[in-house]
């Protein structure tokens, strides 16, 4: 039987002819490369991909990927992407955004896209700073952060992007790190495989304005002990030799022997465990969660939109303009 040939791509097929203009050493390079590699092996025809972004360093991303791309306006990428996806659900839509773009100016669009559960992947590059506008604190910057706009320290509390996504009802919520290439690729593949709104926070280093913001959890020396990779249905173990485990108690989370570790339930209906673990202190004893925090199935917005249209056509027949023009009471003048 003839099978449909899945397209064969190399990473190079997803590299556009545009010169990449991020600062040397920026974490965005590694993420770009990971996305290009993943796109090449997803088995999706290249012309189906659409990358939509807002404004900010990360939002230059679409220019560098050789797919359809739309660099829109600040904060509005989820809204533009929603229109693209609803108009043509066949398209494979990726939103690239940053902490300022998604959580400050565009916060409203992000939460509503999550609530609707459109099938798209949203990558939030979190560098906890405004890079493009030269270093002001962002909605994920820690309290007391000194920046040009907060010379005496910021008095804002930061958002926890994972908690926000969980609260807004995203059906897939994950986290990874720019430099942990293999992990990042795995998370991206899982995000793409998920049918629904897939939110991925990527901790990204801004070498210029916030260098080393995540060192305490991402440096080679500490990361095995400071991170736990949450994999649905697998034991919650971490450490270089996977020699430590985590388990939930009614009131907290505790470190235990690996064989005593809980199995990670990313599909828990209420998401309570994911919500608890995402609030682990970055400077505490417990490891910070990476990997897949939540993965549940829910109806897709765009599928239901088109289903209503299909049903209306089934019930009323294809729209008849002549009949619509003559709807209601009419009379004839001769």
């Amino acid at each position: 039987m003839p099978t449909l040939e899945t397209p064969k791509y190399k990473k190079a097929d997803f590299v556009s002819d545009q010169e990449v203009r991020w600062c040397p050493g920026c974490g965005d390079y590694a993420i770009l490369s990971a996305v290009q590699m993943v796109m090449a092996r997803l088995g999706v025809a290249k012309e189906k991909f659409v990358c939509v972004s807002g404004i900010g360093c990360s939002s230059r991303f679409p220019y560098y990927v050789d797919t359809y791309g739309f660099h829109s306006i600040h904060g509005r990428a989820p809204a533009v992407a929603s229109g693209v996806k609803i108009a043509n659900p066949e398209l494979d839509v990726w939103v690239i955004t940053g902490d300022g773009d998604a959580l400050s100016i565009g916060g409203n669009h992000l939460i509503h896209a999550m609530r609707r559960n459109l099938d798209m992947v949203v990558l939030l590059f979190n560098n906890r700073i405004y890079g493009l506008t030269k270093g002001q604190y962002s909605p994920t910057s820690e309290r007391n952060k000194r920046t040009p706009s907060t010379p005496f320290g910021s008095v804002d509390n930061p958002f926890n992007p994972i908690a926000l996504a969980l609260g807004a009802g995203a059906t897939f919520v994950a986290r990874s790190v720019d430099t942990q290439i293999k992990h990042l690729q795995g998370v991206l593949e899982a995000a793409h495989a998920h049918q629904g709104f897939s939110f991925v926070e990527i901790l990204q280093n801004c070498v210029i304005f916030n260098d080393g913001a995540f060192e305490h959890i991402t440096s080679k020396e500490v990361r095995d002990d400071r991170q736990i990779d949450l994999q649905p249905g697998r034991p919650m173990v971490y450490g270089k030799e996977l020699d430590k485990g985590l388990r939930f108690t009614p009131s907290s989370i505790e470190i235990c022997a690996p064989e005593e570790a809980d199995l990670w339930q990313a599909d828990e209906g209420c998401g309570a465990r994911a919500y608890r673990i995402c609030h682990v202190q970055e400077n505490g004893d417990l490891p910070v969660p990476m990997g897949i925090l939540r993965q549940v199935q829910a109806p897709l917005h765009e599928a239901d939109v088109h289903e209503q249209i299909r049903l209306a056509r089934e019930k009323l027949g294809e729209g008849d303009l002549e009949a619509a023009l003559h709807a209601g009471e009419t009379w004839t003048v001769t």
Binding site: I86, A312, G319
Partner: protein, 616 residues
């Protein structure tokens, strides 16, 4: 009540009549007015309506701000406005009387519901005495005092409704009375009630009983001395329906979808007075129309633009404040050169302003209101039915020139109604659209030599992967480019493209002499008032002509010569003179502004008087 045989009464034939229904916003006046209108339409009268209702859904009952009015003018000839002073006023309570009495013509018919004239009702309307006791009232008007409340409760007896529920039917009783006075059949409203209350048999029965009782009471009780007939108008031949502006806009978008072969994607956020377009479009699902109630105005326009990128006909609508929020995205649409239709159902501003009142003060916002050199075409509809045609024209321009287009309507058009000749499908010209597939020659910002439009390459098309965005782009390739000369070139190209749209307009129509003393130049919903005034002036042999603009930007190529053919140009508009300034700056002419900003349309008389001063 007497049950004697109906007395023979005198039937007078009138050329036209203006009726105003006024009551509390909870009294169902809009509905009553609409029913009267629909019945008149089916009988072949020409008509125009003016619904006027408070911004609050339920202002305090019986209060002055809570008064809701609906004026309808029916006529045996071609009319253009809902009329100036009403011949008939139905006042359901003291507040309605107080707000509306000053407009009623002397000698007019004044029907007052005495059931709502308790001391408390009078107090709420800030009367310190009962105006019905003033003998002057009966001298000045043909006063009919009637307790609609008591009659309604009596009429619906036996339906099992409480008194409070029963009283909701009093508008039907009043309507039934007027149907008798104006020799109108009850069928249209009976049919409508049957449909509306098909699942609520008790309410249906009560409303039908009230309607029929009103008719019977008018016929039997000696309330009215005369019945009137307004014969059908001699409208151009065709099949007609009654249509309001917002539903006409929705229907025009559906037609544009058929004519272009593209699905409509309508992104919208609820706002008065534009929401009805959303409600109407949401019911056209079997036409493949997608409606998206976005989280805010910005998401509404952005989703529509995203849908246009994906190959659909993206449309969004709002009113002034919402359009302000969409502004940045309009700039993006201009920069990426994608088709988009943006409808502004204008209302009184600034800020939240007068949400339920009409105004035309967003012309500058539409033409100039964006950062950067950011031109886009702007159209304006002139009547409720014209909203249909303008929606199609907006889509045609957007799709032909790959540009966002703003269509201005307003609250008066959106909610107002007129008999509309339904076009034959053959009158609707197809809108050719090409989603390019040409891999060989594709350059994202190459241009069609005639229209200067760029190609529309839709995601999903193999080999045409490309990136667009709001950064300045290099001519032809579309690559990001900050070169000074290229920027100037792109700014000029975008400008040339929009100015070129004027080449696709039909010649501008002049009503009246082609040159002479005075030209009245208008745009949008002032059409009817101006046309009525100019017709009146022609009847008195005044040397005056009318041009009414559909295309506000770019202005028609032949407009300059037309304007220069008159000694004076008068520009009435419901703002402080925005078109006037635009015309002055474009043509260096000393035009005369006639501004009005009262949240109400011009009356024909106001404009006629000004014409008389200038050309008399």
């Amino acid at each position: 009540m007497s049950s004697s045989a109906p007395t023979e009464r005198h039937v007078e034939v009138l050329d036209e009549v203006v009726i105003r229904f006024a009551g509390d916003s909870g009294d169902g006046m809009q509905l009553t007015g609409n029913q009267f209108t629909n019945t008149a339409a089916v009988l072949g009268n020409d008509l125009a309506t003016f619904p006027d209702y408070p911004a609050e859904i339920r202002a305090p009952a019986g209060s002055l701000p809570g008064v809701s009015g609906f004026q309808v003018r029916l006529s045996s000839h071609d009319i253009h406005t809902p009329g100036d002073a009403p011949d008939v006023l139905v006042a359901m309570n003291p507040a309605a009387l107080k707000v509306n009495l000053k407009d009623l013509k002397e000698g007019g018919l004044l029907i007052v519901n005495t059931g709502n004239f308790t001391d408390n009702d009078l107090k709420k309307a800030q009367y310190d005495h009962n105006p019905l006791e003033d003998p002057e009232l009966g001298r000045k008007y043909r006063l009919v005092r009637f307790d609609l409340n008591a009659a309604t409760i009596q009429a619906v007896e036996g339906t099992g409704l409480s008194n409070k529920e029963a009283l909701r039917c009093k508008n039907m009783l009043a309507l039934g009375m007027l149907y008798w006075v104006y020799c109108r059949p009850l069928e249209t409203t009976e049919k409508w009630l049957q449909q509306k209350f098909q699942d609520k048999p008790k309410i249906l029965e009560a409303n039908l009983k009230a309607l029929r009782a009103g008719h019977a009471i008018a016929e039997n009780a000696e309330l009215f001395q005369v019945q009137y007939k307004v014969p059908p108008a001699k409208l151009p031949p065709g099949t007609y329906r009654n249509i309001n502006g917002n539903p006409a806009t929705a229907l025009g978008l559906v037609a544009a979808s058929r004519l272009s072969g593209l699905p409509v994607f309508y992104g919208s956020y609820p706002i008065t007075p534009a929401s009805d377009i959303l409600h109407n479009l949401a019911r056209y699902k079997n036409f493949g129309v997608i409606t998206f109630q976005a989280e805010d105005e910005i998401a509404a326009v952005c989703s529509a633009l995203g849908a246009s990128f994906a190959g659909a006909l993206g449309v969004t609508a709002s009113s002034g404040p919402g359009i302000a929020l969409k502004t940045e995205a309009l700039g993006l649409a201009v920069s990426v050169e994608l088709p988009l239709v943006v409808i502004n159902v204008q209302r009184g501003g600034p800020s939240t302003g007068l949400p339920t009142k009409t105004e035309q003060a967003d012309l500058f916002q539409a033409v100039w209101g964006r950062n950067g050199e950011c031109p886009l075409p702007v159209l304006a509809a002139r009547s409720p039915g014209d909203c249909f045609w303008c929606a199609i024209e907006a889509a045609r321009i957007a799709l032909t020139y790959m540009t966002p287009v703003i269509l201005l309507t307003d609250g008066y058009l959106g909610n107002g109604a007129e008999p509309w000749r339904i076009p034959d499908l053959s009158e609707l010209a197809p809108i050719p659209v090409r989603h390019t597939k040409d891999v060989e020659n594709f350059r994202p910002f190459a241009r069609d030599p005639e229209t200067l439009a760029r190609p529309w390459a839709v995601p999903g098309t193999p080999g045409l992967e490309h990136r667009i965005g709001g950064l300045e782009k290099e001519d032809v390739s579309g690559n990001v480019n900050y070169d000074p000369a290229n920027h100037e070139k792109m700014v000029r190209l975008r400008e040339q493209k929009i100015l070129g749209v004027a080449g696709s307009y039909p010649p501008t129509e002049v009503f009246g002499p082609e040159k002479g003393r005075l030209l009245v130049l208008g745009w949008g919903s002032t059409y009817g008032a101006i046309r009525g005034a100019v017709e009146r002036a022609h009847a008195r042999s005044l040397d005056v002509a009318q041009v009414h603009l559909r295309h506000i930007w770019p202005l028609p190529n032949d407009l300059g010569d037309i304007l220069r053919s008159y000694e004076q140009v008068l520009i009435p508009e419901m703002n402080r003179g925005q078109l006037n300034r635009l015309i002055r700056s474009e043509y260096l002419l000393e035009t005369l502004s006639m501004p009005k900003v009262q949240g109400r349309p011009f009356t024909g008389r106001e404009i006629f008087e000004r014409i008389q001063e200038l050309a008399g």
